[in-house]
Structure formats: structure tokens, C-alpha cells
């Protein structure tokens, strides 16, 4: 699962793509198999090199990691399946094998974070995935990607270093790096101040990586100017994985051992989440560039996930886990459709895209479906997680009503900005010139529609992700119980 830098050797570019896609599909298949294995509550553990857990390096997959692993490998496989024509257009042939191998490294890094069971390996995998995503973002023809990626590199490295400081402090006090072992040994630690500092460092560092609201400034530019298929891949899973580590660390290690940590965690993250939801949605309403609009809305959607986690309740966590899954589906689909549009339209500002629906009917329809899912219209996947989030907010106490209002207002804002896209595509004909614009190549449209249908499918029959989400919430709350 974590291999295949061999793609670099596959010089003919068709082969490089085929190899990368096959590897991604294989890892997706492994993820599905793992999910089925953990569905009954059995944690799958693999001790690297045969050393038993507290000493050796351990890989562990429980329900929560299985859910995120599905998202990561699914996004990787889906984006790679559709990628070929778009990448052909944006990357020169001789650089393509390198590009695909960087992509696979990124995928391996993200999957590695999810399955790793000790804090330091998470750091190493995090840097593998970050470094390769810097390469991927900077790989496109757009020169504005370079300053964007530089900013991402600086902020990402600071985030990772903060995380490293936190892990170091915990290691100083407990003498272990294994997450489960850490949780057990923290009970014997008498001097809690370093642990508190560590919790702060780790939370801030991961929040930087996850683009939690005031620390999100690197995200819109990096997503806007990267190659279109890379945006699909990263938007669907990169920040989610950082949130996964954040939630896992806080609930598994800190929550049960630090006094009042639950309250501090909630008081720190909840205002940020609320601000993030409102500000990012408002900015997205007035954004004129299609990709930047969607990237900004990602910041708001990440804030939803954080909001769910900050309730510190089982229903809140279930909503978060569910939203990780559903937002990946919706945003992945949206960016796929954008990639299809971009195949013919060079300029993705909204005023240049007028009347695109007449020329690319399938792409536009898929975009609308995924957009509805992002808003949370009943019958789509987005509705399920919004519903869970509102239920959790109501359970969270007297302030619940305000939170529900926040969620509803931001959903209305989402209606506004999705509607602006729909209006441009369907009801305006400002497009200049009469270049015969046809549909994008059929593999791209096919994958886009597959994702769009999944949005509806998981909206109508949400049993599978819901089971996983509930199980992972119960699991995480179990640690702090």
C-alpha cells in the first residue's frame, strides 16, 4: 500500500499513468477490505518488523481510520482515473512520470498518517505527504502557483515543527511514542504542565495543516493555482487527514488525562469554527473566480468538521466523521467538474463561463448535483451530515440554538454562492466568441458523474458511512470515558 515510487522508471507516459492508477486502485481495494474487516469493531493491527507494540512501530486501523482511509484512497484513485487528459494538457510529457510518482508518494503519505499508530511516524508521513503536495501544486503551468506554494511550504513546515515540539514534550514526560501507550502512561505523570504545553503546540500545529479558520491563508491560493486534478485530490483529503490526527490526538491522548481539557478544547475551537463558517462563506459569496470560490468554501466546510468535534459529544463526533466523508464526496465532485470545464475554458473566472451548460451539459449537471450536496439539500450526502451536526448542536446545551442559526445562515450563504455558479452556467450567455466547445474527454465526465451519483446514493442510503462514523465516535469517546 505504501510503495510504488517505481513509477518514475516507467518512462512512456501512458505507462506511468496506468501504473499510478493501478497502484491507487489497489490501495483503494485494500482500504475497502480493511473497512469490511473493522466493521464489526475489530481493530486491525500490524507490527512492523515483528516487534511488539510499545517498542516496535505499529500500524493500526480502527473504524475511524478506516473511514478516513476510504476517503483518502478513494479520492486518490478517482482523481487519478480521471486525470489523464487533464494532466496531458497541463504537464509536459517528459515530466509526467515524475509528476505521477510525486502523486503516489503523496497518496502513500496521507494513507500512512491514517494507519500509523505512533506519534512520530505520523510526523514523518505528514512531511512525506506535504513535500509531495508542494511539488504537485507547483507542477502546473500557472506561475502564481509558485508564491502560493512557497507560502504553503512555510506555514506547513511551521505547523509540522510545532507538532514535533509537542510530541517531544510528551515523549519527555512519558517515554513513549505509541498513541495507545501514551494514553496509558499519562496517568502516572504527576507534572502536567509540559503535557498542557504539548497539547497547545500539537493543536496549533495541526490546525495550521488543516487550515482551521485564522490559519487558512495558504489554502485558497494553493488550491486555485494548482493543476486541476491536484485540486481534486488535495481538496478531497489533504486537510481532512490533518483534522483526523487532531481529533485522534485530542480524544485519545489528552481528553481523559488533562483536567478541564474538554472545556479548553471546546472553548478554543468552537469560536474559531463559527467564525470560519461565517467569514469563509461570506467571502465565497463575493468571489469571482470559480476555483477560488470553491476553495474558500472548503475553509467553511472544514470549520463545520471542527465545530462537530468541539461539542465533545458522541453525536458531535459522529457528525464530524460523517462530514469528513461527505464533504470529500461533494467537494471532490465539484472540483472534478471544474477540471472538466477547465479542459476547454482557459479562464475560470465566473464572468468568462457564461452559458457553459449549453456546451457541456453533462459536466454542468454533475456540478449542480455536487453543489446541492455541498449546500445540504435533502436526498444528497451533504444533508445527512448537516442534519447530524444540527442534532448534535441542539444536544450541546442552551447555546445550541445559536449554533443551529449559524449553520442555517451559512447554508443559505452556500445556496447563494452555488446559485451564482448555476446562474452563470445555465442562464447567462455572456460568453464571447463562438468556439465550438464540446464535452471534456469521456473518462473525466464519467468519473465526475460517478462521484455525483455517489453523492445522491450516500444521501439516500447512508448506512455504511453512518455505521462507521457512529462506531468511531463511540470509540473516541470511549477513551475519555
Amino acid at each position: 500500500m505504501l510503495s510504488a515510487p517505481l513509477i518514475i522508471l516507467l518512462q512512456p507516459r501512458g505507462l506511468a499513468w496506468a501504473g499510478a492508477t493501478a497502484a491507487a486502485l489497489a490501495s483503494f481495494a485494500i482500504a475497502v477490505a480493511l473497512t469490511i474487516a473493522v466493521l464489526d469493531g475489530q481493530t486491525q493491527v500490524y507490527a512492523m518488523g515483528g516487534w511488539p507494540a510499545p517498542y516496535g512501530i505499529e500500524l493500526a486501523v480502527d473504524q475511524f481510520s478506516a473511514l478516513v482511509l476510504l476517503v483518502v484512497t478513494g479520492a486518490g484513485a478517482g482523481a487519478l482515473l480521471a486525470a489523464r487528459s487533464s494532466i496531458d494538457q497541463q504537464i509536459e510529457p517528459e515530466r509526467q512520470p515524475l509528476f505521477y510518482s510525486a502523486w503516489l508518494l503523496g497518496l502513500a503519505g496521507l494513507a500512512g498518517i491514517v494507519v500509523a499508530a505512533d506519534a512520530f511516524n505520523i510526523f514523518v508521513f505528514m512531511e512525506i505527504s506535504s513535500l509531495s503536495s508542494y511539488v504537485l501544486i507547483a507542477g502546473g503551468p500557472d506561475r502564481r502557483a509558485l508564491p502560493a506554494v512557497f507560502k504553503y511550504l512555510i506555514m506547513g513546515t511551521i505547523g509540522a515543527t510545532f507538532y514535533l515540539i509537542g510530541v517531544g514534550l510528551i515523549y519527555m514526560m512519558t517515554g513513549t511514542l505509541n498513541l495507545a501507550d501514551m494514553e496509558a502512561r499519562l496517568g502516572d505523570v504527576t507534572e502536567l504542565n509540559p503535557i498542557l504545553v504539548a497539547a497547545g503546540f500539537i493543536t496549533i500545529g495541526l490546525a495550521l495543516k488543516a487550515a482551521v479558520f485564522p490559519l487558512h491563508v495558504w489554502l485558497p491560493n494553493a488550491y486555485t493555482h494548482s493543476p486541476h486534478m491536484i485540486t481534486v485530490f488535495l481538496a478531497a483529503c489533504a486537510t481532512k487527514v490533518a483534522i483526523y490526527v487532531l481529533i485522534r490526538f485530542d480524544y485519545m491522548v489528552f481528553q481523559s488525562k488533562l483536567d478541564d481539557h474538554a472545556t479548553q478544547f471546546a472553548q478554543f475551537l468552537m469560536p474559531l469554527a463559527i467564525l470560519g463558517i461565517l467569514v469563509a462563506s461570506a467571502v465565497a459569496m463575493f468571489e469571482g473566480h470559480l476555483k477560488r470560490l470553491l476553495a474558500t468554501s472548503s475553509v467553511a466546510q472544514i470549520a463545520y468538521i471542527i465545530l462537530g468535534a468541539s461539542f465533545v459529544s458522541e453525536s458531535g463526533l459522529a457528525a464530524s466523521a460523517m462530514h469528513i466523508f461527505n464533504h470529500a464526496l461533494a467537494k471532490g465532485g465539484l472540483f472534478l467538474a471544474v477540471a472538466c470545464l477547465a479542459y476547454h475554458y482557459r479562464d475560470l473566472r465566473l464572468d468568462q463561463l457564461g452559458g457553459a451548460a449549453a456546451r457541456m451539459p453533462f459536466t454542468s449537471a454533475a456540478l449542480v448535483v455536487c453543489g446541492f450536496s455541498l449546500i445540504g439539500i435533502p436526498g444528497t450526502a451533504g444533508f445527512i451530515s448537516k442534519w447530524l451536526l444540527i442534532t448534535a448542536a441542539l444536544e450541546s446545551g442552551p447555546l445550541g440554538w445559536i449554533l443551529v442559526a449559524v449553520i442555517l445562515v451559512s447554508s443559505l450563504m452556500a445556496v447563494v454562492y452555488i446559485w451564482r455558479i448555476v446562474e452563470t452556467l445555465y442562464f447567462s450567455d455572456s460568453a464571447k466568441g463562438d468556439i465550438a466547445v464540446a464535452e471534456a474527454p469521456y473518462p473525466m465526465v464519467l468519473v465526475t458523474w460517478l462521484v455525483a451519483l455517489l453523492n445522491i446514493g450516500f444521501g439516500l442510503f447512508p448506512t455504511m458511512p453512518l455505521t462507521l462514523a457512529n462506531a468511531s465516535a463511540a470509540l473516541l469517546m470511549g477513551y475519555s470515558g
Partner: protein
């Protein structure tokens, strides 16, 4: 006594100060290369923290030899960890510099505000 205690944490003071110097450089410098230098200082500070915490008083290199009993050893694990982190730091720096080279090729400058003006 108080003073001695403070001095006893000498390495940790250096760690904290170096960390802040690095962070300050990253935030305040407009030149991209200087930013990267700051980032490197920032990371090196963390290396120092890890190396400091593995030292055991009176400890020596953790090599088990025949005939030596009751020896106190320093903890080798943080050193191994930080070796990995150094590798990560070097590759980040290399990638950062590569990006700066590309920026210079495409924009003709590595000053942040000039790049912002160019777009």
C-alpha cells in the same frame, strides 16, 4: 540557588530563544531566501530540544560491552528520531530553495512585495 536552577535549563533557554529568532525571521523578512534561513533556524531549535532531553546525568554512549556492568546510558531514541527530522528538514529546505529558483526564473525577483505587485 534560584539562579543556578535557571542556568541549569541552559539548553532549553537556547532552544526557546533560537526558536523565536527563527520564527521572527520567517515572519518579518520579505526576502524569500531569508525566510528559508529563518525556517531552518526554527527547525534546528527543535533538534536541540530533542538532543537535550535524551541526556542522562552521567550517561554515556549506549553501547553494550562485555565486562562493563552498571553503566548508565543516555537515551538513544530521541537521537534516532531527530536524525529523521533532520532529513525531513533538509529536504524541506531543498524543495523551498528549488521553488525560490523557479520563482526567480518566472518573476525575476525574490522579494515578496515585488512578486505580489507582479500579479
Amino acid at each position: 540557588m534560584k539562579l543556578l536552577e535557571l542556568l541549569g535549563y541552559y539548553n532549553y533557554w537556547v532552544f526557546a530563544i533560537t526558536l523565536m529568532i527563527g520564527l521572527y525571521a520567517v515572519i518579518s523578512k520579505a526576502n524569500l531566501i531569508k525566510k528559508l534561513i529563518g525556517l531552518s533556524i526554527f527547525q534546528s531549535a527543535v533538534f536541540l530540544m530533542y538532543i537535550t532531553m535524551d541526556k542522562v546525568e552521567g550517561g554515556t554512549a549506549p553501547i553494550i560491552q562485555a565486562g562493563v556492568e552498571g553503566q548508565i546510558y543516555s537515551n538513544p531514541l530521541p537521537q534516532v528520531l531527530i536524525l529523521t527530522a533532520i532529513v525531513v528538514g533538509v529536504s524541506t529546505l531543498a524543495l523551498g530553495l528549488a521553488i525560490v529558483v523557479r520563482i526567480n526564473e518566472r518573476y525575476g525577483t525574490i522579494e515578496e512585495h515585488e512578486i505580489l505587485d507582479a500579479d
